[in-house]
Amino acid sequence: MFRVPFLVAIALAIAFGGGIWSTRLALDATIGFGAIKLGSWEAFPEAQTADADPYAKSHRANAGKLLYATAEGLSFTATTDDSGARLSGSCTYQLTGQTPTARFWTLFATGPDGRPPAADADLPSSLNSRMVGRQPDGSLDITIASRARPGNWLASPQQGQFRLTLTLLDTPAAGSSGLIDLSMPAIRRIGCGNV
């Protein structure tokens, strides 16, 4: 007797529940297609243009972030190290290598809340290309740890997973879409705990 309403209810529950759940999941998980991936770094050079795919447009409309335009820069993010393990505040990492050609770059770590560190923080929670010492060949060697380190030290959050953001300012990489051979610094885990 109640079979037909029951079947309709199943169909509607799956349609609305599944549709909304999958959309939320898709918009949270990805900024769209068209990423350039270099090691564990990821950037979306076309996310702010009219050529962006529907997922990218939907994501940026929902997130409401102010994206870098082509002549401004390109922002790379990394949530894992080179072995694919999530970046953790209790571990120490070494960032080595070259960035793509850019006039300046900035590097900072965001904690689980997603907020960038304060500019006047007591610890060096953000670095830029002007304040970092280089190797003799001009390459980078930055230690990322929550405790103080000699040399170039980027302070990471004490606990929990974090995300690295490396923003290149005025870079030809922003217009490349992967055509230029780019290389990003490697992120290697040195150890965890008190090492």
């Binding site: 199943i10 529940g17 599944g18 549709g19 939907s58 401004e72 300046f104």
Partner: protein, 203 residues
């Protein structure tokens, strides 16, 4: 025997088949809804960048963004990059974006339309004399402007926009704490005003 009989009776009214069909219908509906939301979200979103910049206050002026999200929900997204935003409407007159060159290490400007698509971007190296001087207008406005270009506009970059509403984002890079006053002055002196060029070309 009775089990077999009940199984046959179940098959006779196809209940399981109907439930399967309902689940399948639900999944198709879910996929459709997913696509509808993804494609229509940019049209009705109240959280997109343009809506937030409109919520900052009146248009045609730059607003500095702080480290904490303001009431419009906007904040600096890089601790070393200072930002200002300005919304504009060029349906009546073009908008002119200017800032004096006061020796900041780096600035960049991105101009976007109301759907947050990039129209134009420039930085200090790609501009003339490292000075920000950009006029954004509709193709008709800019054609009229080019016809009688007022004095002092030889360095101005003219940008055509197809939509009449949009916003501009001005960024400057803080290489060191010591340049913060220069950058603050640069961003505070930046203008985003409607451009009344007809009154200026009168003889």
């Amino acid at each position: 025997m009775s089990r077999l009989f009940s199984f046959l009776s179940l098959r006779r009214d196809f209940l399981w088949l109907k439930i399967l069909f309902a689940i399948f219908t639900g999944l198709v509906g879910a996929a459709l809804l997913h696509l509808i939301i993804v494609f229509s979200l940019p049209q009705f979103s109240q959280r997109d960048a343009y809506t937030r910049i409109i919520a900052e206050g009146e248009s045609h002026r730059f607003y500095r963004l702080g480290e904490q999200p303001d009431r419009a929900g906007l904040s600096k997204e890089d601790p070393m990059i200072e930002m200002s935003v300005c919304s504009f409407d060029i349906s009546e007159t073009p908008v002119r974006l200017t800032a004096p060159n006061s020796g900041v290490p780096f600035w960049s400007l991105g101009v976007f339309d109301a759907s947050s698509d990039e129209i134009f971007s420039i930085n200090d190296r790609t501009s003339a004399d490292h000075v920000l001087d950009v006029v954004v207008g509709t193709p008709a406005q800019l054609a009229a402007l080019r016809k009688s270009l007022p004095r002092g506009f030889s360095q101005t970059v003219l940008v055509e926009a197809q939509q009449t509403e949009g916003y501009a984002v001005l960024r400057s890079f803080v290489t060191h704490k010591s340049v913060v006053p220069v950058i603050s002055k640069f961003l505070d002196q930046a203008t985003c005003a409607p451009f009344q060029w007809r009154t200026r070309v009168q003889f």
